[in-house]
Symmetry: none
Subunit: 464 residues, 2 copies
């Protein structure tokens, strides 16, 4: 029963935290091949935890990339729904390393915060779900419904193997509800995601002369690849925020513009934006005529994530660089097809190729924008849980970010999707990522409430 | 008389060579503080040679760095011109030492070549001028005009003290003609430099949000510094090669365009360009309507030397970078003032600053373009000398690179400049530097011809 489970969670909190620190101590940067063995080590650590706490049929779902980890408990019978809890165990890279106050893979507690890469995004999601299971099985010897656990290892590098893993494990992953345990509360305010933007990632390389050249001897007679890169980016970006790739907006659902003179940003968004960016209200930017929230969640973007060419050290080195390049992410909205946008981007960038400047475009992942549950028994179960723990319901929100997996789930399994995240802290993609310890504890209570609530409210629809 | 001098040079060749070996035996690496005492020992050796051969007013011109050496012979009277011969007695470093077949500061003769660091660049310039004086004074008891000798000790480390030395010795260094004895012939083909481009170096940094941001959460609402950097570069660069900084061409001397249909690149330039760049003829680039040589030497440039922002590692990191930047070199031509161009560049770049994107411009050195003599009595005197010794005139060439020293002479003294170098060999900046002995002997003859020829052809203009 819930009360018993809550008491057990309380009693075991210190031990649970030590387990979390173990999970955080393994470097799990999925984007960097250097960490390949460590990512697998993380998966194996999770697998052995699943077995230890009493999940069944535990296994690694192998792929060409990093494995996913699967476990289940399906003894609740066909009258009970089957709920799949998803989280990702991989993390962002750590650069710039020198800005971390303590090493990113050595958990450090300061002022009630636990600092480590992955502390919120999204090892918290893995940890809290495992501890919810461990707690309820300790309390009741059974879970209140059928649960599946599916923890991905490639979310931060665009989930490249996920389509294959899901296609090969369709039956295993079938359920009545797909719960994304990523994101979550911000201090005392819970949030539940109701839509995500899609994404196309790409890298562009421009190659000119075979080697770096003396800028005196060859300045004026050799095309500079860095200039071509700049020209491509500058021709896509326009100061008013409208992206100049031909056909880019063709499939975007029309939005109602903000009334002239009406407020275009609310107090909460402004506070958050100022905290994260250091920018003042008038320094924020975006497509003219639309609200901050529309720009952030319902309009597509183009952003350079990285830019490189030639000499970047101290002082000067007067060269024409042999090559230049950039990485970019495009955030998509319904109904943009990521394959279509990727093709349009590639074709447009390639149109800048000319004599003396060869251009390669490499696509780095693509995902659909997705609409999640906005109301009904699932949202009620979530709100009931949050009211019990945080004392208030979650704010339902659309997200500017992307979860490529969701598009794949939607296309391959057709499962209704919701969101219940347990990473309550800051800096998920920046140095000094941390989780608030008191909220981590509260989120375990939220999970316990949710496991019981959803088991009562959701009717099985033949899933499993 | 010339004939007598040539005979004396012939008779004394072996002794002259021994003196050269003495000069070459002192390590004179100006860039490395380890050799500081040796560099001074070289200067003192030259000073005592000047005194021995009969120059007057010999002295070291001290600076915060290495001293220059000065000597003069001004007994030819006011009807004769005053010619200043410049060379540099310091050398390049010797690394990688293990690639030298014999020690760099022990002269070794093999196959008609004298191997030693400085054998061509530029102790040959010091040596040949001193021996020309010694020879003519032995032949005639007088020089045919007024001559000053100014040998620098910091050329290979960027001439940091040169502005100060010249400013403190303006009267001493005044003359009708400044002859740079550096460079010279390549085997049987003489070369004379007639222009160098100037330079302005700069670094630009654009700062946006206080930290890297998640491109999902902030894509569409925060201005991306990498886009601003791209916009700046793309707005300066134009595909036709014309630089878009307002006023950039205001002071550029007009050039005659290439006739439509005429050849715009010669065989020698094409061969060299292909070897260095790997590009084919049609892949070369530049300002429309001008020849390759004009683009390379007589038109100004803007080139990004380095470009940086955000994530440059393997894979993707979906961020909006907090900052972006670039380093650039601008090669200038006569009569562009580097301070003026630096100001125009800074003002233009700063005009891209806007709410949410702060821009800093840091200047990284500046130097004038210099137009040396291209025709007239000085060039005639040089060509007459080369025809007499090498059997052919020199190729007059413009250089796309920059020589800060020439810019300093131009700015501080305003003396007409020409070039007559005596280092005919190879590997001036590489291991196994050597001079061809037969050409070293021929270059002493060239010097003797030049001393007499210039004395007859050049009229004094009140210099001294």
């Amino acid at each position: 029963m819930l009360e018993h489970a809550l008491a057990i969670a309380q009693t075991n909190w210190d031990r649970y935290l030590e387990d979390f620190k173990q999970l955080l101590s393994i470097p799990t940067v999925s984007a960097d091949p250097v960490f390949k063995a460590d990512v697998r080590r993380t998966a194996e650590w999770i697998l052995s935890e699943m077995q230890r706490i009493g999940l069944h049929n535990c296994r690694l779902l192998e792929s060409a990339g990093h494995p996913a980890v699967y476990g289940e408990w399906l003894e609740a019978g066909p009258q009970k729904p089957t709920i799949l809890m998803y989280a990702h165990y991989d993390t962002q890279p750590v650069d710039p390393l020198e800005l971390w106050e303590t090493p990113p893979f050595e958990s450090a507690v300061r002022d009630g915060r636990l600092y480590a890469r992955g502390a919120i995004d999204d090892k918290a999601g893995v940890h809290v779900n495992l501890k919810a299971v461990e707690t309820i099985l300790a309390a009741d010897g059974a879970l209140p419904a059928n649960f599946k656990f599916f923890f991905e290892g490639e979310e931060e590098s665009g989930s490249p193997s996920m389509t294959g893993i899901i296609q090969q494990n369709k039956e295993l992953l079938r359920s009545d509800l797909f719960v994304v345990s990523d994101g979550g509360c911000e201090e005392d305010q819970p949030y539940v995601l109701t839509s995500v933007r899609g994404i196309v990632g790409a890298e562009v390389r421009v190659r000119g002369p075979v080697r770096d050249l003396h800028s005196g001897s060859y300045g004026g007679v050799v095309l500079n690849p860095a200039h071509i890169v700049a020209t491509i980016i500058a021709s896509i970006y326009r100061e008013d925020g409208r992206i100049q790739i031909p056909g880019y907006y063709d499939a975007v659902r029309p939005l109602t513009k903000v009334e002239p003179g009406a407020e275009w940003i609310d107090e909460r968004d402004l506070t958050l934006a100022h905290r994260d960016t250091g920018l003042e209200k008038e320094e924020l930017w975006g497509l003219d005529g639309y609200s901050y929230n529309q720009r952030q969640t319902a309009l597509p973007t183009f952003d350079v994530n990285g830019l490189y060419s030639g000499y970047q050290g101290v002082g000067m080195k007067t060269i024409i660089p042999a090559e230049a390049g950039f990485k970019a992410s495009m955030r998509l909205v319904a109904d943009q097809d990521p394959r279509d946008i990727a093709e349009k981007f590639s074709a447009y960038v390639k149109s800048f190729e000319r004599l003396g400047a060869k251009i390669d475009v490499t696509l780095k992942g693509a995902g659909w924008a997705v609409q999640c549950l906005e109301d009904g028994p699932v949202i009620e179960a979530i709100q009931q849980s949050y009211v019990a723990t945080y004392g208030r319901p979650a704010i339902l929100y659309r997200q500017g970010g992307s979860v490529p997996l969701l598009g794949i789930i939607h296309a391959e399994l057709g499962t209704p999707i919701t969101n219940l995240g347990f990473g309550n802290g800051q800096n998920g993609h920046s140095p000094n990522e941390f989780v608030f310890l008191k909220y981590l504890q509260l989120d375990l209570q939220t999970a316990l409430h949710f496991y019981y609530n959803i088991s009562m409210r959701l009717k099985p629809a033949g899933g499993r």
